[in-house]
Symmetry: C2
Subunit: 101 residues, 2 copies
């Protein structure tokens, strides 16, 4: 499956970021990746149905929040921390603190 091109850092739109973060599962993925560095789709999805999970990962990719790479048959996900920080300084730590409540 081809993935749409990831937005470049300067193309990341704040409304897309907020939309991506408005879902509890996507917010959880972002927070876990911030804590763990990198994680596979499998590790993040738990027992959710694959079809809905794929959608969530795509929203996060297209919003510019995560990048993915293939490691063998496994898809690994990571937060685009530097890109987000460059584009919206301080936003990520706000988000992580907010969810910690």
């Amino acid at each position: 499956m081809r993935h749409a091109r990831l937005p470049a850092s300067e193309e990341i739109a704040i409304e897309d970021v907020f939309h991506a973060l408005s879902d509890p599962f996507r917010l959880e993925i972002v927070c876990r990746l911030a804590a763990e560095g990198e994680a596979s789709c499998q590790a993040l999805e738990g027992d959710r149905p694959k079809s809905s999970v794929s959608h969530h990962f795509r929203v996060l990719r297209e919003a510019g929040l995560i990048r993915t790479r293939n490691e063998g048959a496994t898809r690994m996900n990571a937060l685009r921390r530097e890109d987000i920080e460059r584009r919206f300084p301080g936003l990520l730590s706000c988000v992580l603190s907010a969810r910690a409540d």
Copy 2:
């Protein structure tokens, strides 16, 4: 028209806040209120159709981002700045800076 009870500060949910901010018009309302203090629905809505505008104001109210009061026949809106800051410190300034890009 009765308005649903505004969420108390501790009830404000971050996903609801992000959902509210994921729309360009709602984000614009938040930024204008941050700059202007208080503004009427009329001043904020421009030439948008009233029905869609009402929806946007309701989303912002129910997310805990704005409060409204009646001044005669006019509805005045204000940001719940202290409540948001107490609940999610630093988030509002991040949002305002992000949109300034």
